[in-house]
Amino acid sequence: MAVVLTRIYIPPKGLPPTEIAEKIKGRFPEEVVEVIEFRDQVSVIVKRGRVLEICRYLHDDPDLSFDHLQDLCGADYHGKKEPRFEVVYNLYSIKYRHKIRIRTQVPESDPSIQSVTSIWTGANWHERECYDMFGIVFKGHPDLRRILLPEDWEGHPLRKDYPLKGPELDKDWKGFVEVVNRSKELKEFEWKG
């Protein structure tokens, strides 16, 4: 039988997150803006310039080995913070059982950041979703298209200045208008039995 049922080896808990944050700070002192601790989880806020290098370091360093990208998402601090956007990387090491969160600042004037698909292939769809929802452009992404919304959608819904019920509440959706017009055109061919 192919599958072996085992008492799998669970490694002891790895480095505490504050120590990892110190390591990043030691390696990239210019890049780290702030380190925040909340409920035993540590976020390292970094500038966007060398985020690819930081991620490469976290992934490749034998002591850190962050092999699992748990999540990648955007956040919008419209009118609350400058710079406006953030791209959040939740990283976990299956090998060593430690985790860290990297939050990268992205300004509104030029919402773009380097893509990490070359490190974690699974980031592909997360980055497409982030582009779809926040309009953040990922440089070096192999296939940056909208993913959850139709290709001709206007606006980026998870931005805070996008209204909850959609921007054109008084108008019918254009796809629906199209169908109605078409049905009017084709009315003469209706089967009258």
Partner: protein
């Protein structure tokens, strides 16, 4: 020969599959580029079921957003609820009572069994084994009936709550669940005899959709889809939540990383889940089921019983002289039990009244009053008994105040400390993560859902290219996706 080649020239064909296709498990659309029978390129299109749950979650308080999570992975809604509740509890910083933890573990594992049964049923049906489908649905029905027993719902349960669970489990439930756990291990071999040694099944699953351990981790796969490749990553072991650190269970992992290994992993997992449920029932401690933190969790409903509970049988009555006919109560009534013209005194139709007290809260002219114990009395007797609202007994009024507070609490939410938190739980499909950014109000500033199905759907092109068209079906089945969760 040249002539033959000219006539029978081969071209790559572009085939559209879905979004309405029975084998795509929902509304997944794939565009396949095929060369003969071989897949050259696969482009998945998702988003047909996008409802903007993340955006909706930002507009609601933490309590109100809970039912939305049912609608993501509707096959194992219970596990999604638990994931959401745990994330919010960690954000609030509250501790759940021991009994609630065990109950959650029980229902979470029941959801895992139900999910794997549905997965096996549809996966086998896609590959061509019809009988398994019928067998699996027989047991799944049993679990859904058990869910019905504890919360009244079968699919969209919303049974776990922030701070615990909604109500305690009845003794009959534990009895029938125990019976189920005794019976279920004998049912698994029934499915296995149907397909385990079946030559068609083996041919269609062995060596199909192979992904190595390193690559699987790099793609972000989780759950049984990852463990089939031999990576021992299970959040229940790595970051134990609920009662998983108090029960003894094993995690099956595969070796080859193909469809067959992932199938074996899930079959083993069902046995383990069964074990966990049995242990939890044995160890189930007595005690409260809801955290007693009035600032963060909903209080028990007994406190507002005097008004809301139907057995207490209060009646609501409009005093004709005081009623100005403003229509506020008429609009607010959820049962549409109030009738009347504008600027004329309104009337409550007693047989339609639910006794929810919404009208009593909204009335500004002190026209609406409570007649204690007046349910079922004729209209004339109520008129006789009715007193102005300020002469209603004190305990009933207190319960009334409590009810109003309760409404406001749900609508505004608690005061949450500022910060951000990411909490992952092991749902049947993989790692379900919730990432909250709190700005100090009762609503999440940002609510992000890391859906396992979304990540798994992204790996389809990697699994399919180079295989045959028929293997696409097997690959969609093996990664176990639900499009409601993928599109959110």
């Amino acid at each position: 020969m040249e002539l033959v080649e000219k006539i029978f020239e081969t071209r790559e064909l572009n085939v559209n599959m879905g979004p309405q296709h029975p084998a795509t498990h929902g509304v997944l659309r794939l565009v396949l580029d095929i060369d003969g029978e071989t897949i050259v390129k696969v482009t998945p299109y998702v988003g047909y079921l996008h409802r903007g749950i993340e955006k909706l979650g930002e507009s609601m308080s933490y309590f109100q957003a809970l039912p939305l999570t049912d609608r993501m992975d509707y096959v194992s809604a219970m596990a999604n609820n638990i994931g959401y509740c745990i994330a919010v509890e960690r954000l609030f910083g509250i501790e759940v009572p021991e009994r609630a933890k065990f109950i959650r573990t029980i229902v979470g594992e029941m959801a895992r069994i139900a999910n794997h049964l549905l997965w096996l049923a549809t996966h086998a049906l896609d590959i061509g084994a019809m009988t398994v489908f019928l067998y699996c649905f027989r047991e799944r029905e049993w679990i859904l009936e058990l869910f019905e027993m504890i919360c009244g719902a079968r699919l969209t349960v919303t049974y776990p709550r922030i701070g615990g669970v909604k109500n305690d489990v009845p003794a009959e439930f534990l009895d029938s669940l125990w019976k189920f756990t005794e019976e279920f291990p004998t049912r698994i071999p029934e499915y296995e005899t149907l397909i385990d040694q079946n030559r068609i099944w083996l041919k269609r699953t062995k060596g199909i959709g192979v992904i190595s351990a390193e690559e699987a981790v790099n793609w972000g796969l989780t759950g049984p889809t990852l463990r089939g490749s031999g990576v021992p990553y299970d959040i229940r072991k790595h970051m134990p939540y609920d009662a998983y650190d108090k029960v003894d269970f094993e995690v099956p992992i595969g070796t080859e990383g193909d469809t067959y290994d992932r199938y074996r992993c899930r079959m083993m997992e069902m046995r383990q889940s069964n074990n966990i449920i049995r242990q939890c029932i044995e160890k189930l401690p007595p005690g409260p089921i809801m955290a007693e933190t009035p600032n963060f969790t909903l209080q028990p409903k007994d406190k507002m019983m005097p008004i809301t509970h139907p057995t207490k049988e209060h009646a609501f009555y409009i005093i004709e002289k005081a009623c100005k006919g403003c229509g506020m109560c008429l609009r607010a009534c959820p049962a549409k039990a109030i009738f009347g013209e504008k600027k004329q005194p309104h009337k409550i139709k007693q047989d339609l009244c639910l006794g929810c007290a919404t009208c009593y809260v909204t009335c500004k002219f002190k026209a609406l009053t409570i007649v204690p114990g007046g349910k079922g009395f004729p209209e004339e007797k109520l008129a006789e008994l009715a007193v102005p609202p300020d002469k209603v007994p004190e305990d009933i009024k207190k319960a009334q105040e409590y009810l109003v507070k309760h409404f406001e609490f749900i609508k505004r939410g608690p005061k949450v400390p500022q910060g951000d938190i990411y909490i992952a739980t092991e749902v049947p499909k993989g790692e379900l993560g919730f990432y909250f950014i709190s700005d100090g109000s009762g609503k999440p500033y940002r609510m992000r859902v890391r859906a396992p199905s979304f990540v798994h759907a992204g790996v389809l092109p990697r699994l399919c290219v180079g295989h045959l068209v028929a293997d696409v079906i097997a690959n969609i089945g093996t990664i176990d996706i639900v499009l409601g969760e993928c599109d959110r």
